[in-house]
Amino acid sequence: MTRQGAQEESDNMLIDEPQLPQRAQIAALPDEFNPSYLKLYYSKLFPHSDLYRWMSYGNDGKHPGCDSSYLGRREFSYTLDNDIFVRYNTFNSAAELENSIKEKCPLKIDIGPIYNLNPANRNAYAGDNVLTPVERELIFDIDMTDYDDVRYCCSGADVCLDCWPLMTVAIKVIDTSLRDDFGFRHILWVYSGRRGVHCWVCDRKARWLTNEQRAAVADYFRVYKGNENSNKKVTLMGQVLHPFLARSYTEVLKEYFETKLLTSQNILSSEERYEKILDMIPDQSIASELRAKWQDGRRSSSAKEDINIVRWEQLKQLLQRHKAQGVRRCVEEIVFTFTYPRLDMEVSKHMNHLLKAPFCVHPKTGRVCVPIDPNNCEEFDPTTVPTLTQLLEELNREGFRSDVEGEWNKTSLGNAIKLFRSSFLQPLLKSCKEEMESSYNAKLQQSKNLLSW
């Protein structure tokens, strides 16, 4: 029997026997991610139609302005079992998309750009007809591993509630700027399933940016220069900060640094750690003065107060009354270093980068890539995001019928899908409709004018 067959059989067993005692079933579900449960997830819970409607951007309607080739030019790629990567899947309808996902049961679905031509037939094109991406959401990828030099609680792929605030900061800073500075409205934040977040900017204008313009936006967000071998990674130039940086600092970074990360990461508690910060101070005499104070040990500080806070206040006092501006600026540089978002620039700069679709299940953690509400992102807790196993247990508990799909409502996925619809999909589709209407009318008007000549 093929492996595929074996999987189907075990899935069918789960579906067909809801009358089994609940306890036995729960025990039967191992904790880790299990690819064979994916099939069930895709058939019962995955919001296929939401993905379809999003990716259609209003072109799935009856309006005469709809472009029926639109969805078919979008690349979806699958990561299948055994690490097989299949690029350039395309779909012309909601049914095709859904059937394919259910049949192939991909471990991961990535979304690519919309091309000038249907990429599935890419080999048939010759000469001038080169496959080129023409439209793509502006995307951002923020990964906790890029923060390893400023978090002490975990490293690599792990995250915990002590370092997660770094992601909260990133969402707040980037989201505010995308909306207030760049004027974007349709922004989707998604938990990457393990240690980071993804951002999709879906406004029409964002989708049509050139690579150069994408790079410009990404660079606007960049404050990190230099390399592994220099201590001070953030260099803030100029007499004052650019309004975007100044706002980020006063509204987000400073608060998160002083009230959360400073103590949760114990940024100044040990010699090894505070040396890293003293290294960032350009005035050697101040650095030595602080070092002398801190080496003295805990004696000088009252036991009640957190040592990190005490030391931070001492540092600020000395630096902020310095006459050289470069030294005063150092306080901000330290805060930026320890809190400011670190983007994977390459992902944002090129239209043809792939990005994992929301509602995929992370194969290592089993967690679902759920949307994050940027307005309440401080409440998001990655450790309570529903896992595949948990969702299937919930389904089992509720008892489900094999002929009904989309039973997410009965599970803890329900809130995630509701959030996706209410805060992202519905407003987006409304704008798409309006834009389609107005551009269609403009075209009509134009052709009328042509006729009257």
């Binding site: 500075d181 974007f184 313009q213 790079a215 936006v217 660079d219 007499q239 004052v240 650019h242």
Partner: protein, 460 residues
Amino acid sequence: MQVVRSHQSHSTFSSSTGSVSASPTLPLYRSAPELEVRLEDFESFAVDRLRVLKGISDGLSRGKKPDEMEKLVNELWKTNMRHQDSSQVLNKDIISHFVLRLVYCRTEELRKWFLSMESALFRHRFRNQTAEAQRAIMEEFDLPCKAVSNAEFESLKEKLGQVARSIGHNHSLPTADAIYYKVPFEEVPELVAGRKVFINQGYAYVAMNQVVSLVATIFRSLLSKALILTNRKWATSIREQEQHRLTPIVEALCSSYLGPDYSQPKEYGEISLKDIDQLAKSSFPLCMRHLYEKLREDHHLKHAGRMQLGLFLKGVGLNVDDSLAFWREEFSKKVGLEKFEKNYAYNIRHNYGKEGKKTDYTPYSCQKIILSTPGVGDHHGCPYRHFGEENLRAALSRMGVNSRAMEDVMGKVRNRDYQLACTLTFEALHAAPCDAGINHPNQYFSDSQKLLKAKKDSSA
């Protein structure tokens, strides 16, 4: 634009051409001018402009600072774009631009290069215009921006000042009569990337002294589109129609090498066969060293490789008899003496026989080598461009490049500054600067020999 034989007189612009009326000194090249050009001007104007563009390219890839670039471009323009008849200066500017469009429209790579160099040049020239002329150009471009109204300005004054101070424009803090333009942020990517503007609700507020960036972006995108159209026209009609007249000129121009002539060895006279191994180690650039080593190893090279190395050796000073002996020695090991004399010797003699005129028989310039497209089994080309990273690193360390210099070289390679990578290699191996940069393998050779001789003399 119409190209005529030289005996015909040429007319000047018809005054109706929009492109000149906007600004008398900085044309926007919106449409090809209606004027007749003499055939020799067609080529020589283009060559002059090419010198400017190549100079800019060289300066940029050497990482010259803005003020150094400013000086450099001024110099280049002054020395190359003059015309003894001052009424012809503008014509020369426009004609040369349109000729080079033909030359550089033909591949993506050429277009990209031309586009960045012309944009850099335009940017430089725009900055040197009077405020009035600048405004005229902006109007001509129909910029999608409007000056910020007083009320809006007042409400944003503080933020605009904050931006100005953040980029060190303290002297140009916004005053009441300051003009700001409000443009969609995507029109000024470079200002956005550097956080050099205030951005609010999708609009960037561009100060008058920053408009060059806006104008240059538009110039660039218009030119980019125009190049695609030119390419289409070239491919569908011009190439065919002009196959006996302009086409050969156009095709030669893009790989034309503008430095000194290396077809006749001058400085060091002849080299002899017995020295050649030693010289290959000490003074051959990587491209030639590689061909040379491959020839010694395989006793064979394909045609393009034989041409690249053979002409180089001719330029280096290997006479025709030594050259024959050299190739015979290697090839006979593989194909046998008889076959060599029959199939290969003629070509080698031929290379020597037709010196001078024909570009094909002068040693190849870096430009030409870099643009070549070696296939399977080929060893010609420029290693900096055509080798994979690993092979290149290995080849460089065999040459004796130390690890620190290696990173610099690889950095240039990643930026596609192949000639600069070669220059840095030269500098590392000779522990001496090479300010002119490497433009020709034979120049690499003669510069290297000069340095080595000087060293020998001083130690003697």
